[in-house]
Every structure is written in C-alpha cells, then in structure tokens.
C-alpha cells in the first residue's frame, strides 16, 4: 500500500552505503523509503524528529529507478496478442519474470490483430500496480493495425486497417473501450490520422509514429497534432535521406512545438540496430532516447527450438531466428542487457544509460513525478546494480521483489 493514512506510522527504511541516481548524477547518498515512497530524510529529522527504523547496507552498489519497458510483446512463451481465455495469467508470468531484468513497470504490447482479438484481450489486461507478484502494468501499447502496408514488417497484412470517414469511431470499433490503453502506434500518412491523433491525445493516450512511410513534413504535422513518440527508430520507416530525413528527422527538427521533447524507442540488443546508428541517434538527441526490448515470446527461453503459436523459432544466445533460416524473428534481449549494451556501444555515462531505461519512458508517459526517478515522493521502485550494471536486486514500493542468487547469502 502506498501513501495514505497508514504511511506516517509506517516503518522508515534507510538504504546506506550506496550511490543513488538523482538529478542526472550518481550521488553518494542514502535512500530513505516509507509507505512505498521515497522519503525526504531532512524533513523527517527536523519536522518529525525521527530516525530510520531499519538500515540496509547496499555494499557500495548503485541504486537506480526501476526500468520501464514500453514495448514488449510477450516472453517466456507468452504472447500478449493471443486471445486466450486467461490472458491475465500470461501477463502475470511475464510481469514476474522481468523483475530479474530490473523492470518494475511495463506496457504489454499487442501487434496488429483482428478486432475480435482486441475485444477479447484488451479488457483482460487492466492497469495494475507492481509488487512481489510482478512488475506493474502501466497500460497497453497497441502497435497497429493502423499502419503502413509497405512497412508492416512482421505484422499480418490481412489485418491492417486504415481510417474510414468516421476515423475515431473506426478506431474504437477496432480496439473496443480504451480504458486500459496507454500507447497507440500508427502511421500518420493514413487519411484522417490527425483527428485520431488529436482525439487519442485528448484522452491521455500517447501516440507513437511507426511502421510508416511518412516524410518529415507529415511526421512534424503529426507531432503538432499530439504525437510524442517514435516506435523503434530506424526500423519499419523510411531510411534517413539527406533531402528528406523522414521520421528520423524528428530528432533534430526545428519545426516542432516549442518546449516539446520528441521521444524515440531504440532496441539496443546488439542486433536490431547497428551501433553506429545507435550512436548517431543518441548524439543527435540524447534526451529523447527510450530503451525498449520489443521482446517476443521467445524472451527468456533457453537456446534451441521453440514453438510459439504458428511460428517455429530458433534461439541462439541473444538472437532469435525463424527456425531453419537466418531471418531475425524478433528481439529477445532482456532490458538490463539492452542497458549494458547501450552503455558500451555509445560510450555514454552510466547515468545516461540508466535514464534511457527509466526516466525517459516515465517522461514519455507523463509519470516522471512518481516513476523513473528517486526524487522525494516518487514510488520506491528501484534496482540495485553492481558497477557493470548487472541487476542484484529489484524493489517495488520499497519491498524486495527479486534478488540475485549470489546476493542471497
């Protein structure tokens, strides 16, 4: 339970001997927690005249805000786009298993599907707080079906849709009620897309541009209508061209609304994006970079062949292929692997790498007061990392929800 009347009487926890990520820096400070939130110890000392009830020594490790994955299609054999009777169990399984990757909040993602699937699945995945049972669900990410045929990637062509005259009504008819939806990826070049973008934005849903052949102008117009995110930059969009940079050009566009930061997802698994491309994007617009896994159901399954729905997939280390081929079938790198690879490939600071997986996705979703940060008053969702950014322990609401084997001694 967070906050509330019981909070003031709740136990005060003090995490000592650690470095915490705060204000973009790693500071040698203790982290204080009470009632599931980060506590201001100075206020506690001078106003309440209290000290900590319990101290935990963190062995000199790094404490960073818990990672937030805004694009993950499933994992551990679970496919979020599959319309089963018990979708909840699948989501719960993934939610629990990704705790070991340092993820404390996520957006289960559905790929292009027929309306029946959305109508069955979407209501079964409500927004849910995290805890010992697993990472919190912040809302669904619906990627498609309102995307470009040409840039559909692995999305099934049969179920692609465009907006008819009653644009937003079409969307509602396809998805059903939007209560559990947090992000929608669409292609802005589709007719009537702007009214849809505006309507979604008014309802607090984040609109992302992706799987699109839009040029830079169309992309900028979409941002003016309310779009704030780019789905897996470089993938499923027109390549950067020096006379029309396309969606990629949003990173450095000077024709965006003043003060608006455009965020963009990147899969830093060492396979889906060439490190040089990762560096170009990062150097052009470091503040907007959001690490995502875009993980497929094969995430977390060991090496070897696995049957996932209609597909046969071969897993080899951090890469998954369509069985018997060398065709990539999706990402399977866990979030902490992405963070480490991003750090190594870009040569950025540890602070930047950690913020790309925590603060930036929180800012994208407008949650930066409570998530993705260790500021006073924020939810106490954090990870304990060693110096090479391996996850040692994961906390949600100040409660230990996962711990590495070695750390258990």
């Amino acid at each position: 339970m967070r906050g509330g009347q019981g909070a003031v009487e709740a136990r005060v926890l003090q995490f000592t001997n650690c470095r915490i990520l705060r204000g973009g820096k790693l500071l040698r400070e203790d982290l204080w927690v009470r009632g599931g939130r980060i506590l201001d110890p100075e206020k506690l000392f001078f106003e309440e005249r209290r000290v900590a009830d319990e101290r935990r020594d963190c062995g000199g490790r790094i404490l960073a805000p818990g990672f937030i994955d805004v694009q993950i299609n499933g994992g551990f054999g679970v496919d979020f786009s599959q319309a089963t009777e018990d979708v909840g169990s699948g989501v719960a399984l993934v939610a629990r298993r990704i705790l070991s990757h340092g993820v404390t909040s996520f957006c289960p993602t559905l790929v292009t599907s027929p309306p029946e699937v959305y109508h069955k699945v979407v209501p079964q995945i409500p927004v849910k707080s995290g805890g010992p049972h697993g990472a919190g669900v912040l809302g669904l990410h619906l990627e498609g079906p309102f995307i470009s045929r040409e840039k559909r990637g692995a999305h099934p062509e049969a179920h692609l849709r465009s907006f008819e005259a009653n644009a937003f009504q079409d969307l509602l008819a396809t998805y059903g009620p939007l209560d559990n939806v947090r992000i929608v990826t669409l292609a802005p070049e589709l007719g009537h897309s702007h009214e849809v973008i505006r309507e979604l934005t008014t309802r607090g849903i984040c609109v992302s541009l992706g799987h699109s052949v839009a040029d830079l102008r169309a992309a900028e117009d979409a941002v003016w209508s309310g779009a704030t995110f780019i789905t897996h930059l470089f993938n499923a969009m027109l390549p950067f061209h020096h006379r029309d940079p396309g969606i990629v050009g949003l990173l450095t566009s000077d024709r965006l609304p003043a003060g608006r930061c455009i965020f963009y997802g990147m899969i830093a698994d060492g396979t889906h994006t060439n490190p040089a491309a990762l560096r170009i994007a990062h150097r052009a617009h470091p503040q907007g970079l959001v690490l995502v896994t875009d993980a497929i159901p094969a995430l977390g399954l060991g090496n070897g062949r696995h049957t996932l729905g209609q597909q046969e997939v071969e897993v080899d280390g951090l890469t998954a292929y369509v069985a018997g081929t060398k065709t990539l079938s999706g990402s399977i790198a866990p979030m902490d692997v992405c963070v480490r690879h991003f750090l190594q490939a870009t040569g950025c600071s540890v602070e930047s790498a950690l913020e790309a997986a925590s603060l930036h996705p929180a800012q994208l979703l407008g949650l930066e007061k409570s998530k993705g940060t260790l500021d006073f008053g924020a939810d106490a969702d954090f990870v304990v990392l060693d110096d090479s950014l391996h996850v040692q322990a994961t906390y949600i609401s100040g409660e230990l929800v996962w711990q590495a084997e070695a750390a258990r001694q």
């Binding site: 203790d30 201001d40 110890p41 100075e42 206020k43 506690l44 000392f45 001078f46 309440e48 005249r49 209290r50 000290v51």
Partner: protein, 274 residues
C-alpha cells in the same frame, strides 16, 4: 560513552548529556567528528546541540539555510537524536517567542558545555554585529551590509536573494558567566555557565579581528572580545590569523605549545570500553 577530553577537561559519564553549541563554519571539525564516529570511537547518542543562528524568511530546506547545512554536513552522518538537535526556526510566526523558547531550552538542557565558533572579519560572534550589546540574549538581528555582501556568493551573487535578517544567540547567551561565590549555589543545582568557549580563527582576512579580540579591550564593536571575561576560552588559530598580533604575543603562546598539545592527545575512544 565517550569521555570528550579531546575538547574539555570536563568529563561526562552519564546523562544529563553534554550540550554543545556549534557554529556553522568549522566544516573540517565536522568532518573529523564524523570520521571518529564512523570509526566507532565516538557516539552522539547523548549529545545535545544548539546552533547559534539561522536566517529569517529562508525556507528550511533552502540549500543555504543552516538547517540544510547542518543536515548535509553533520547530522545525516552521525547518530544524534533528532530531538536533541536544536536550530532556531527563522520562519516561526512569532520570532521573539522562538528566541525566548530557545533560551529556555538551553537552560533546560543544563547550559552549554562547549561553544565552538568562528568570527567574522568584523569580529562578530554568531550574528552579533558590531554594536551588539555584550549582555544580549537570543534575538532578531538585521545583518550588516558587510555580512550581506560576504554572503552574496552563496546566493548566486544576487544581493536581492540574500536574507537581511537572522535569529542569533546573544553574546550574553554564550558568556553567561556569573562571577558568584560557590556558597551561592545550592548543592543540587548546577550554575548556568558555558563551561568552555572555543573560537576558531583561520586566514589572514581574520587577522585584524583576532588582534582586536585579544590585544585590545572588551568592546561591543568587536563582540568576540567579550570572551576575554570568560573563565575558560581558547582561541585556535593558524599562522596567517596571527599576522596582526604583536610578535611578543605570538611567541608567548607558541612557547606554551607543549601544554596545549596535551589537549589534543590522547583521544579516548568508546572502543576502550569507557
């Protein structure tokens, strides 16, 4: 329980606790105390502290308030009981009542065992600016322009952001030495007297103030000079601070160093089971 013979000849082995009045500037002092605490030699569990001043109108959590200063540089690193750390509240509704309450708390704590502080270039102790009464108590003071200018660097160089008023203990609060014969003290009460005053003075820019403090008379224009009339005052200085003193004065005190060194050696530790 540590015998704090590092500072005073007075030892305290049981509560009521030693009370210490600490000023804001001796950062090196705090660092050393924190080091002794972290090494297990010293505990502040039974120590009471009273800070000598605080700005008026500055939010308590402003980075330049003395609350913030004490928390970040001292309190958060040691095991002091928050109920024993007293700092004047510069945002109190009734400032004089706040000052009176502070005086009362000092009295209830049994008076001050040790006062540690520095001085301003104008010889002020706490915010007792030149012209302050030498028998003053804790009260509201308007800061001298010199002080405001000196503080501007902590407020982005913007004079309009620097507080112009502060609450401060008075010279009398610190002095509180009553020259009364022993017969006047009932057996079961202790006299309200600061046991030891320690003034830290370093740097050439404080040299003239030090000269005025110890080689000239007691004068309200150089309020630290009032401690000439306290039975146990130590001025701790570096070479540069002595630049305005007579050579004879400096030689005299240097000649006593073998006595002074006994004050810092040896250090008793909690680990010795005292």
């Amino acid at each position: 329980m540590a015998k704090v013979t590092f500072f005073t000849g007075h030892t305290s082995t049981t509560p009521p606790a030693p009370s210490v009045l600490i000023w804001s500037t001796p950062l090196g002092c705090y660092k050393k105390l924190i080091e002794y605490h972290k090494n297990g030699h010293l505990s502040f569990k039974y120590v009471k502290t009273f800070n000598m001043d605080e700005y008026v109108g500055l939010p308590r959590n402003h980075p330049e308030s003395y609350h913030s200063y004490m928390w970040n540089n001292f309190f958060k690193h040691i095991d002091i009981d928050p109920n024993n750390a007293h700092i004047l509240d510069g945002n109190a509704a009734d400032l004089q009542a706040e000052c009176d309450a502070f005086e009362k708390k000092i009295k209830e704590a049994g008076g001050i065992d040790l006062f540690v502080g520095g001085i301003g270039p104008d010889g002020h102790i706490a915010f007792n600016e030149p012209g302050s009464s030498l028998v003053s108590r804790t009260r509201l003071k308007t800061l001298a322009m010199d002080t405001i200018l000196a503080n501007a660097k902590y407020f982005d160089g913007d004079l309009s952001k620097v507080p112009t008023m502060a609450l401060t203990v008075g010279v009398g609060t610190v002095m509180d030495a009553r020259e009364l014969p022993a017969a006047f003290f009932p057996l079961n009460s202790t006299p309200f007297i600061t046991l030891m005053v320690m003034i830290l003075i370093t740097g050439a820019h404080k040299a003239f103030a030090l000269y005025k403090a110890i080689e000239e008379g007691v004068n309200h224009m150089w309020t630290v000079s009032a401690f000439q009339q306290h039975p146990r005052t130590i001025f701790v200085c570096d070479e540069d601070a002595t630049l305005e003193l007579r050579v004879k004065t400096v030689k005299y005190f240097k000649g006593l160093m073998h006595v002074h060194n006994k004050l810092v050696d040896p250090l008793f530790s909690m680990k010795d089971g005292n």
